[in-house]
Assembly symmetry: C2
Homo-oligomer: 244 residues x 2
């Protein structure tokens, strides 16, 4: 019996997210079925993160237990030859049997990409969130720092997932501006449902002047979802890396 | 009578290139028909560059002569509301009547993007050329400098276009590496048919060790298309800017 850890890149544009759902095409189901087709076993794929519809991944991680004897270095090309072109297995490695893509994870890194200009994008349109309002980058940068550290992020969570606690630790947050693109990188021990997209939406509201930078502390403390910004669009979000 | 200059961004993935062709969907025809629909005139659109099928543009330029009275600042949004989402008018300005998008151009800047890793791309797949062979970036950089200056680029031209001379001046060439991405920027007074893609393909061959850096001078001098590298895929190419 072997435990195989996969690192996966995907373009989420055409899928109803990672998680298997009845009558909807999900990334999890497609990869799971492709592995079953390869191994001829009824394997169960465990993903680190249930990315939503339209969200991308450069480094999603998943694992499965198998009896099959295929050499691990052959797994990526064997699966990629059967997978659709918008899902690519970057790497496969054998890991201890107790490795669990979700529970063993100690941290995640996401990016969020904003195109800030009046006209909508023709290029890269599936990979950015378009904001036509003029954003004050320095204010967004200042505001972003308030998210660092350990907080109860109830104000930055959508309803729909049951978690024991809303306390999370953000260890790194970075905002980079390159001409019309504003890119947010955020790293933490875990993220609540829609947390990165609500943080991104809140920073957009700061950039537009609808929320002041210095009120972020208050909004966090309020634990009130209504005080944070909008949930920014899925297209801007990418799961960059999962740490173990 | 007014002459309107448009700056256009487009994703070339779904089109048979810029130029109007019978029974094929072209970017030129779509924009021209959209302008005709707006102005109710039989206008003729003049593009600066006939980008091929799958080639993108961040700054294609085109112009048209019109009698219509619509304020120039309203033209982008008026056209964008009717254009498909992968073609966006970034800007419109009124220019002198003798301005001609093609003949008035004094230079162009292109980028070419290579994804250099074993596995094919799931993300950004329409915007990169994938190269699975390990590329020696330093050799590519050294080789690129031989293209600078004024040369007869007959060895770097596909047949199929009739031009008076194959002499062109490359004023700037830059190669940038960012993890798995190698990006080529090239600027010159004009480019022959497929010239940027053949230069990119030749640099890829240098990176793979199939062509030595120091033979670029010889290849240029030979004027022999067979001695240069392959024509690299259209997806990596983007018309960044046209100078006037």
């Amino acid at each position: 019996m072997r435990n195989i850890k996969l690192t996966i890149e995907y373009d989420g544009s055409s899928y109803f997210g990672w998680q298997r759902q009845p009558n909807k095409i999900s990334i999890e189901a497609i990869i799971e079925e492709t592995i079953q087709d390869l191994t001829k076993e009824d394997i169960k794929l465990i993903g680190s993160s249930r990315t939503d519809s339209g969200v991308h991944a450069k480094g999603q991680v998943a694992n499965f237990i198998t009896e099959c004897k295929i050499p691990v270095f052959k797994i990526p090309s064997a699966l990629n030859s059967k997978l659709p072109i918008d899902i690519v297995i970057l790497d496969a490695e054998e890991v201890p049997l107790d490795f669990h893509a979700r529970y063993s994870s100690v941290g995640k890194r996401y990016s969020y990409t904003i195109l800030n200009r009046i006209t909508p994008p023709a290029l890269y349109k599936n990979y950015v969130a378009h904001c036509k309002y003029d954003l004050d980058f320095e204010k967004m940068k200042k505001a972003s720092k308030y998210f660092l550290g350990t907080h109860d992020f109830s104000a930055f969570k959508s309803t729909g997932s049951s978690v024991k606690t809303s306390i999370r630790t953000i260890s790194d947050i970075e905002l980079i501006k390159d001409e019309e693109i504003i890119k947010l990188y955020i790293e933490g021990d875990g993220f609540l449902y829609n947390m990165v997209r609500i943080i991104a939406g809140t920073l957009i509201d700061v950039g537009r002047g609808r929320i002041s930078c210095d009120s972020i502390e208050d909004i966090i403390r309020s634990k009130d979802r209504k005080r944070a910004g909008q949930t920014a669009p899925a297209s801007g979000l990418c799961l960059e890396r999962v740490y173990y």
